[in-house]
Symmetry: C2
Subunit: 315 residues, 2 copies
């Protein structure tokens, strides 16, 4: 297949080359009814990690930025937060102090900002935040931080009758607020971490109340479990960017027939972030396995003509 022959290039933000050809060829092969690699539409399942794979996760996860903003917004109602960790650290912009509270601190932040309201109230709060919150470096709405090449890839897969799913460690209801608008992915195809919920009638009106208790943490070994639980079929394509995603391509790769496993490697300090110098989104074990097994690895610097839609011009 010669991609330059395409009258319309469905992946125009990708530099022409081996990697782009590999993706386009995979799609072409599985949809070719007369070819040996044909996969019927019902089995064309593709799964994508979100943070760092579909959108930017630096300098902090977008959902953490939301939680930090919410703590500041709610601080007036919680004077005790001025002297209680992890809230004190958040209010004082003390990043080291926050980091020192570890997973316990993160869960306390999530409980304070993601629970204690109904699902509808949470959706409204998240929607309002997305309408105004800006990324500290790029100064754009967080909804503009999707990687344009990945948005094109999602769209290309769906044009070829793939069903595209997000399978992320991020909060399922947080992502659902923007997944349709940003990625064209409907709520029921967004899978993520979740808290427990309680159904109750308030003056006869049913509500679902978000409880401050983790129900499912969708990371590492839990990702194939989530795929089986929510999708019920093994994907034929899996996309990730960090060691927390490793089990997704492992699981996808172990099925029969042609498959596409792909990792996004953050190599572009200029246009995005170079993860060689970042504590977030470590890609070591998964990169080794990708190289050993011949999975595709995207170098953002070399393979992407454009990273974000808001960039002016291209390299």
């Amino acid at each position: 297949m010669n991609v330059t022959n395409l009258s319309h290039d469905p992946m125009s933000s990708w530099n022409d080359g081996e990697l782009k050809r590999r993706i386009l060829t995979f799609v072409q092969c599985v949809v070719d009814q007369n070819g040996p690699d044909y996969v019927p539409p019902a089995a064309r399942i593709a799964v994508f990690d979100n943070d760092g794979t579909l959108w930017c996760e630096q300098p902090v996860y977008i959902q953490l930025a939301f939680a930090l903003d919410r703590v500041k917004q709610l601080a007036g109602e919680h004077p005790e937060w001025r002297t209680t960790q992890p809230f004190q650290a958040v209010l004082e912009d003390d990043h080291e102090g926050l980091a020192a509270t570890g997973m316990k601190g993160i869960l306390a932040l999530v409980a304070a900002t993601h629970a204690g309201m109904t699902t509808e109230e949470f959706e409204r709060i998240a929607r309002e935040w997305f309408a105004t919150g800006k990324h500290p470096r790029f100064n754009v709405l967080f909804t503009e931080l999707a990687y344009q090449p990945m948005v094109e890839l999602l769209s290309h897969l769906r044009s070829n009758e793939f069903k595209t799913f997000i399978v992320s460690g991020g909060g399922i209801e947080f992502m659902r607020v923007i997944a349709e608008q940003v990625y064209g992915i409907p709520p029921d195809q967004v899978i993520g971490s979740s808290g427990k919920m309680k159904y109750e009638l308030r003056d006869g009106v049913p509500v679902l109340v978000r409880l401050p208790e983790l129900d499912f943490f969708d990371d590492k070994e839990a990702k194939p479990v989530a795929i089986q639980k929510f999708i019920g079929q093994r994907p034929i394509a899996a996309f990730g960017n960090s060691d927390g995603d490793l089990q997704m391509p492992q699981w996808a790769a172990a099925g029969p027939g042609r498959r596409l496993m792909l990792l996004v490697d953050h190599t572009d300090a200029e246009r995005e972030f170079d993860y060689r110098v970042s504590p977030l989104g470590r890609l070591e074990v998964a990169l080794t396995e990708a190289n050993e097994r011949g999975w595709a690895v995207v170098s953002m610097k070399n393979d992407w003509k454009q990273v974000f839609a808001f960039e002016v011009g291209s390299r």
Copy 2:
């Protein structure tokens, strides 16, 4: 709307009348772009209970029939079952003894027949059982026990760009084996009860092992929770048949705009089962609420021209 004017009747197994007209009118209204009740396709979510709503659940749940058959198949490997409850009762066809073991007995049966194997092994076992197991009264494959009027309704909704979901107390992976074939519903639109799973590498090959531990029991108040978790949108139509389904139409009804809530009332001892004399599928609280709130109630005897596709002729 006059349904007799339809050149093709999409619900030909329903007797013409107020109830059928109500369903067809609902669909016509929500798809009418110029009408006051228009709902965009992305929000056309319909949820269906399975046992007793989409297929026959008498004299025992189909999944229980599967579990009982599996105990008998596996008994040779478990001599201890001959003197251990609930297995002894199953092996001796002692229905009273089995019932006496209660929920504890059911969970022990599920653990023995639904866990301890990989997801792929379970799928194969269930698929083989569905290929041969027969219903004790109708003497047809269990996959032929779908209610023909409901299959037509599912199909009519999808023809009008609804997304149809099963939300059932039944096992999610058990139903997924047949949901596409029987109902035209893909695996990711089947929601149900589930056990915990564990991802592991066996000689480098990833498997998901089914553990003998309940993860989620999808009944009553848990159904709206499951809807929110798996679908992430409030349905505009909800279909059930028992008190265990009540919270689904409650949750659907509480949203804005036009909605359809419908309960199937088992009134036909001749063609199916009369639940007035059955311990299963009690419909009392939900029927009262349906009548008070004007939800639709199907009388199988009066509203369905045909119950099963395998019936010869019609009333």
